[in-house]
C-alpha cells in the first residue's frame, strides 16, 4: 500500500491513460469519443505534475510541449481511429512531431532523415497498400480491435515499466540529486575507445549535431553496428526478391 501511495503520481495517469485508450479502441458499436477524449486529457494533465521540467527557456519548453503533445495525441488517434487511411495519416503526423522534438534537441540530420524515411516513404507505402487493398471500403473485421483488453493492458504495462525505470534513475522529474544523475548511466572512461577507428569527440560547440560529427561517430565508434545493420538490410532485400513471384510463374 505504501508503494502505491508513493508512486501514485505515475499510477494514476497510467490507469487513466489505459482507460482512455481501452474505451476508444475501435469496436463494432461505437462509444462516446468525447468521454474517452476527456479521460485521455485528464491522464495527460495528471502526468503533467510528474513530468514538469524545471523552468528554463520559454521558447524551447513551448516547442517541446507542442511537439511532444502533438506526438502523443496523434499516436492515440492513430490507434483509435476506425479508418485505416486516417490511422496512417495520424502516424505521419506523429512522426513529424517526433522530428520536431529531434530538431529542438539539435539533431537536424536525424530529423530530416526520419521525415524522408518514415513520413516520406514508409507511410506513403502504407497508404499505397491500404488504398490498393480497400477500394470498396474497409471490411467488418477492420472496424474493430481484435484484442482490445490484452493489447491495451500489455502496452500500458510496458509504458509503466519504462516510466518507473526512468524515475528510478531520476531522469524525468528533475528531482534527483546531481550525484544520482552522474551515476545513472554507464559511461566510458575518456581513454577507452569503442574500437580502433574511434576518434576523440570534437570540442567545437558549433559542430555538435552536425552531419560531419554524426558521420565520424557512425563510421568509427559504431562501425560494426552500421556494417551489421547494412548486412541485415541487404539480406532482407535479397529475401524479398527471392520471395516475390516471378513473371514466368504467372503472377505479378
Amino acid at each position: 500500500m505504501k508503494w502505491s501511495t508513493e508512486n501514485g503520481a505515475l499510477l494514476v495517469p497510467l490507469a487513466l491513460g489505459w482507460l482512455a485508450i481501452w474505451w476508444l479502441l475501435p469496436r463494432e458499436k461505437g462509444r462516446s469519443r468525447i468521454l474517452g477524449g476527456l479521460i485521455g486529457v485528464a491522464a495527460l494533465l495528471a502526468l503533467q505534475v510528474t513530468l514538469l521540467p524545471p523552468a528554463g527557456n520559454v521558447v524551447r519548453d513551448g516547442m517541446f510541449y507542442l511537439f511532444g503533445g502533438a506526438a502523443i495525441l496523434s499516436g492515440g488517434l492513430m490507434i483509435t481511429d476506425k479508418n485505416p487511411v486516417f490511422a496512417a495519416l495520424w502516424f505521419a503526423v506523429s512522426t513529424l512531431s517526433v522530428c520536431g522534438l529531434f530538431l529542438v534537441n539539435s539533431a537536424p540530420f536525424l530529423s530530416a532523415a526520419t521525415i524522408i524515411v518514415y513520413a516520406g516513404a514508409i507511410v506513403v507505402t502504407f497508404l499505397f497498400v491500404i488504398m490498393l487493398a480497400q477500394q470498396s471500403g474497409a471490411a467488418n473485421y477492420d472496424h474493430r480491435a481484435v484484442q482490445p483488453v490484452m493489447a491495451s493492458v500489455l502496452s500500458f504495462v510496458l509504458l509503466g515499466s519504462l516510466l518507473f525505470a526512468l524515475q528510478e534513475w531520476g531522469g524525468i522529474d528533475g528531482k534527483a540529486s546531481d550525484e544520482a544523475r552522474a551515476n545513472q548511466f554507464v559511461s566510458l572512461e575518456g581513454t577507452v575507445q569503442a574500437n580502433v577507428f574511434s576518434q576523440p569527440p570534437g570540442t567545437n560547440k558549433a559542430e555538435i549535431g552536425s552531419m560531419r560529427v554524426l558521420g565520424r561517430s557512425l563510421f568509427s565508434d559504431y562501425l560494426y553496428v552500421v556494417e551489421l545493420a547494412g548486412t541485415v538490410l541487404l539480406i532482407a532485400t535479397i529475401g524479398a526478391i527471392a520471395i516475390a513471384p516471378r513473371r514466368s510463374q504467372g503472377t505479378l
Partner: protein, 406 residues
C-alpha cells in the same frame, strides 16, 4: 538600388524587416511568375505545334493569365458528393504549403558571406545558414506527395485513385536517385549546405562549376527531380489520355488552381536547384564574379541567376512536347535499373578520385564513360536484365504453362 532599399528602414528594425521582406518578395514574385509561366508554356506548346496559342486577351495574349485567374476565382467551386471533405479540402493546401516551404532554403541571389541574425543585410534567402539545405529540400519534397495521394483518395473516384497510386509509387522510387545524385556533390564540396556549394563554385569561377566534375549527377538529378514534380514525360499520375486528369479529376476552380500553382512552384524550385548546384548559381565570367564590386553588381548577379533559371524552365517546358510519356513499367525500370545503379557508380567514382587524390577533373571523362557504357548496355540489348524468353513448345504437356503465364 538595393542599398537605398535597405537604408530606407531604420537600423534597429532591419534584422526583423529584412527576412519578412525576403519572404514577401519570394511569395509575390513566385505567384506572379507562375501565372506567366503558364502563358509561356501555352505559347511554347503552340509554337512547337505550329499554331497561334492564346492571342485574344491583350496584345499577343499578354493578359491571358489575368483572365485565367479571374475565371479560376469566379468559377463555381464544386465539392462532389461522397468525397471525404476534410482531406479533399486539405490536399491542395498541403501541395502548395510543401512546395513553398521547400523554397525557404534556396538562395535567389548573392547571399552575403558574413550574414548573421543581428546585422540588417538583405539575406537573398529566406532561411540562411541551414547546414543541411539539400536534405531539408528532399525531406519537404517527400511530403509533397501527400497532397496528391490525399486528393486522389478523398475524391472517391476510380481514376483519381489510380492516379494517386501511381504517384505514390513513382515518388517513393525517384526519391532514391534524387538523393543519391547529390551525394557525390556533397563529398566534393565537403558540405550539404546549398549556400556553401554555391560559394565554392563562385570562388573558383567558370572552371569550378560542378557540371564539369559531376555531369552524370546533373543528368540524374534533373531527371529524378522532373519525376518528383510530376512533369511530362513523368506525369503518369495525371495522364489525361487514360485517367482524365488523374488525381485532380474531381477538382475545380481555385482548388485545381492551387494544385497547378504547386506544380509550377516545384518546377521553379527544381530549376533554381539545378542552376545553383551544378551551373555556378549567380556566377558568370567577367560580369558576375565573386570580386566584382561595381555599382549594381548585386543586381547583375541576381539577373544572371534568374536568366540561367529561366533557361532551365524553357528546357523543362520544351521537354514536354519532345519526349512522349513513359509507360508505367518503363518508368519503374528507368528508376530502379537505370538511374539508381548509375547514381551508385557516380558516388563510387567520386570516392575513387577522393581516395587516390586524383585531380577532380578526372571525373569528367569517367562520368561520360559511365554514361556511354550505360547507354550501350541499354541499346545493345533491349531488356538487358530480362530473363531469356522461354521458347513456346507446341505440345500441350509441359511447355504450355509458360506460354499462358504471359
Amino acid at each position: 538600388m538595393l542599398n537605398s532599399l535597405v537604408n530606407f528602414f531604420p537600423e534597429p528594425v532591419r534584422p526583423y524587416v529584412m527576412p519578412i521582406l525576403a519572404i514577401v518578395i519570394v511569395l509575390n514574385v513566385n505567384l506572379g511568375v507562375c501565372s506567366y509561366l503558364i502563358l509561356l508554356e501555352r505559347k511554347l506548346s503552340a509554337w512547337m505545334q505550329d499554331r497561334h496559342g492564346p492571342n485574344r486577351v491583350g496584345p499577343f495574349g499578354l493578359f491571358q493569365p489575368v483572365a485565367d485567374m479571374l475565371k479560376l476565382l469566379l468559377k463555381e467551386d464544386v465539392i462532389p458528393g461522397h468525397v471525404n471533405k476534410v482531406l479533399f479540402v486539405l490536399a491542395p493546401g498541403i501541395s502548395v504549403f510543401t512546395t513553398f516551404l521547400a523554397f525557404a532554403v534556396v538562395p535567389f541571389g548573392p547571399v552575403p558571406e558574413n550574414l548573421s541574425p543581428g546585422d540588417g543585410q538583405f539575406p537573398f534567402i529566406i532561411a540562411p545558414g541551414i547546414d543541411l539545405g539539400i536534405v531539408f529540400i528532399f525531406a519537404i519534397g517527400s511530403l509533397a506527395v501527400y497532397g496528391i495521394i490525399l486528393g486522389g483518395w478523398a475524391s472517391n473516384n476510380k481514376y483519381s485513385a489510380l492516379g494517386c497510386l501511381r504517384a505514390s509509387a513513382q515518388v517513393v522510387s525517384y526519391e532514391i536517385p534524387l538523393g543519391m545524385s547529390v551525394v557525390g556533390l556533397a563529398l566534393l564540396n565537403h558540405s550539404m549546405s546549398i549556400e556553401k556549394i554555391l560559394m565554392n563554385q563562385a570562388t573558383n569561377g567558370l572552371p569550378g562549376w560542378n557540371i564539369w566534375v559531376q555531369p552524370l549527377a546533373c543528368v540524374i538529378f534533373f531527371i529524378a527531380a522532373m519525376a518528383e514534380a510530376q512533369r511530362l514525360p513523368f506525369d503518369l499520375a495525371e495522364c489525361e489520355q487514360e485517367l482524365i486528369g488523374g488525381w485532380h479529376t474531381e477538382y475545380s476552380a481555385m482548388k485545381w488552381g492551387l494544385f497547378f500553382l504547386a506544380e509550377y512552384t516545384h518546377v521553379i524550385t527544381i530549376s533554381f536547384l539545378t542552376i545553383i548546384l551544378f551551373f555556378g548559381g549567380w556566377q558568370f565570367p567577367l560580369i558576375a564574379e565573386i570580386d566584382s564590386a561595381y555599382t549594381g553588381a548585386t543586381v547583375v548577379k541576381v539577373l544572371v541567376l534568374l536568366t540561367k533559371v529561366f533557361g532551365v524552365i524553357i528546357v523543362i517546358q520544351m521537354l514536354r512536347w519532345t519526349i512522349p510519356r513513359f509507360r508505367f513499367d518503363q518508368l519503374m525500370s528507368l528508376a530502379w535499373k537505370g538511374l539508381i545503379p548509375l547514381a551508385m557508380v557516380n558516388v563510387l567514382l567520386v570516392m575513387i578520385v577522393k581516395q587516390f587524390d586524383l585531380h577532380t577533373l578526372w571525373l569528367l571523362p569517367l562520368s561520360i564513360a559511365a554514361f556511354v557504357a550505360a547507354g550501350l548496355m541499354g541499346t545493345q540489348s533491349s531488356r538487358p536484365f530480362a530473363r531469356k524468353a522461354v521458347p513456346v513448345v507446341e505440345d500441350h504437356g509441359h511447355g504450355g504453362h509458360h506460354a499462358h503465364a504471359h
